[in-house]
Amino acid sequence: MSRVVSPASLQFDQISFTYPGGKQAAIKDVFIDVKPGEIVVFVGPSGCGKSTLLRIAAGLLFPEKGRLIIDGEDALPLPPEKRRIGWVPQSYALFEHLNIAENVGFGLKMQKIPKHQRDEQVADMLKLCRIQDLAKRSVRALSGGQRQRVAIARALAVNPRILMLDEPLAALDPQLRIAIRADLEELLRESGVTTLFVTHDQSEALAVADKVVVLRDGQVEQIGTPDELWNFPANSFVAEFLSNAITASAMVAAEKSVVLAQKLACSINKECAVGKEVKLALRKDNFVISEQGIEGRIVFCEYNGGVYQMRVEVQDGLIIPVSSTRELPIGALISVDFNRETEISVVGI
């Protein structure tokens, strides 16, 4: 089923915001450009300003500086009820005194849509979100996943120009989260609405986004497609946060090559002057366990669903991440080689 929506563009233009009584700015000179229909994921550690940005866009917080442009118009003077932005908080904030159909129809009622038209739109929305069988149920009787769908249906029912989801999967248990994530993405693509999505889970960000915005301390660290961010992180923070990379320094041996631990020749993703020291983000997919590699001692090993994530200390104290399908004891000696199908990301020169 498709819906007629008019997805909007959105621009945070040098937005700054400090919470009343706060000593530090929660958002500092943020510039983000969101194209119509895009799913943009804000990712970063707790307190980095992700949710604050959503609230500013929704009109729930007012920035002290900057402009918010929606479809080419300054939206800051508009109160939240006039912005046509759907906001789904982490708690979902369902109206517990109303049943599910009434929750979904709340916005339409506020907009004084006639009842018969409202009922039709609510039915459409319940169908889109695959909760049509729950229409008359109390929200108290719903599971986490169903609550999330009701909250999204309610936000979409008013045909918003932009949808904002603040950690929509955080309240779900890990098993359910992965299943619902795919479902949610499908639903968002189907609705066609421009979406801002907040998460602190990097895998969620990479899986769902057209574009990822990495935030730290209220500032943008990098904006790009998941692929760009994975392969070309702007700095060590982005690499460490998104891919759990380990940063290390090395001397450039050839134009696009470095030598790690004096023996291991590795390709890098940027052309750099020979002899220059570069900062690298070593990801676990850059290395494999192989007899041809360099020897090191396992210093960390953790089971991660079918794969063991390990860290191996090689010569000069360099730590290399690698994964294995079999468990190896901490302290064991193994050989690690560079995976020639990959390139190591340069995150600083």
Partner: protein
């Protein structure tokens, strides 16, 4: 299914038993005076013993006739104070709950000061400061308002500060509801229980308040507790007991309702 060792249950049962005994002792201690008041007020001549000379309702009728004008005055006063609590307390609670500003914590503490100040001191302070306002009853209303407002604000502010209330309000705003509609359709249903509890608390406190009223009343505007006091010191013990019983008929149901609402609130949390 895990079965617990029956021997391990004994200490728990003992503790429960002691607790139950203690609860019954407390309940008996509280209920005995009530039974006694009922006995005194329905006995012809109490000096001769319970129900000596037979059971009578004449003192209750006499007591009700004595206090009814004052009871209605107290009810009117309580409802006036309640309206003022709504007018002043709801916006104050809203500001304290939703806005961060310098001296906010100080202001919140300030709203609680009247709880700590003895009613006598408050009454005395008001009458010394504004002696001319006593005659028209304004001071009595102000005293009751000062006495009840902190409780009203303390009941509402924590709930209004809850992120769940703020979230539903914000969601309603993004769905197109302006502030008055948010207040009616979303905030009120969310805080209804607290508001009702605060309402009953204000009415009960105002109706039972003696210390402030004693200093601030005038003969035309005498609240029920002050009249109760007069009856105790001047009238027969049977009439005083009957008046007390009538008074309790006003206050106890409200207190029970308040307790039930408190329980409901905890249950919903």
């Amino acid at each position: 299914m895990n079965r617990q060792d029956p021997k391990k249950l004994i200490p728990k049962d003992q503790i429960r038993g002691i607790g139950r005994l203690f609860a019954w002792a407390c309940a008996t201690m509280c209920l005995t005076p009530l039974i006694l008041v009922f006995a005194v007020s329905t006995t012809q001549v109490w000096q001769r013993g319970p129900w000596a000379g037979g059971f009578t309702l004449k003192y209750l009728v006499q007591g009700w006739n004595t206090i009814s004008p004052y009871a209605w005055f107290s009810i009117k006063l309580a409802f006036l104070v309640l309206i003022l609590n709504f007018i002043i307390g709801i916006p104050t609670s809203w500001v304290l709950a939703r806005h961060r500003f310098p001296l906010r914590n100080f202001l919140f503490s300030l709203t609680n000061v009247p709880i700590a100040v003895p009613g006598i001191a408050m009454g005395l302070a008001l009458i010394i400061t504004y002696p001319l306002l006593r005659r028209n009853g304004f001071l009595l209303v102000a005293g009751h308002l000062l006495y009840t407002l902190p409780y009203f604000i303390s009941s509402l502010t924590p709930q209004l500060s809850e992120s769940s209330v703020q979230d539903v309000e914000w969601v309603a705003a993004t769905l197109g509801a302006n502030f008055p509609r948010r207040l009616i359709y979303v905030i009120y249903p969310k805080i209804r229980t607290s508001l009702l509890a605060a309402t009953i608390m204000v009415v009960t406190l105002s109706m039972g308040e003696f210390n402030v009223s004693f200093f601030l009343f005038n003969p035309q505007n005498k609240p029920l507790p002050v009249e109760l006091y007069s009856a105790y010191i001047t009238g027969r013990i049977e009439v005083a007991a009957a008046i007390t019983l009538c008074f309790l008929c006003f206050v106890v149901p409200a207190a029970i309702l308040l307790e039930r609402l408190g329980g409901a609130k905890v249950g919903n949390a």
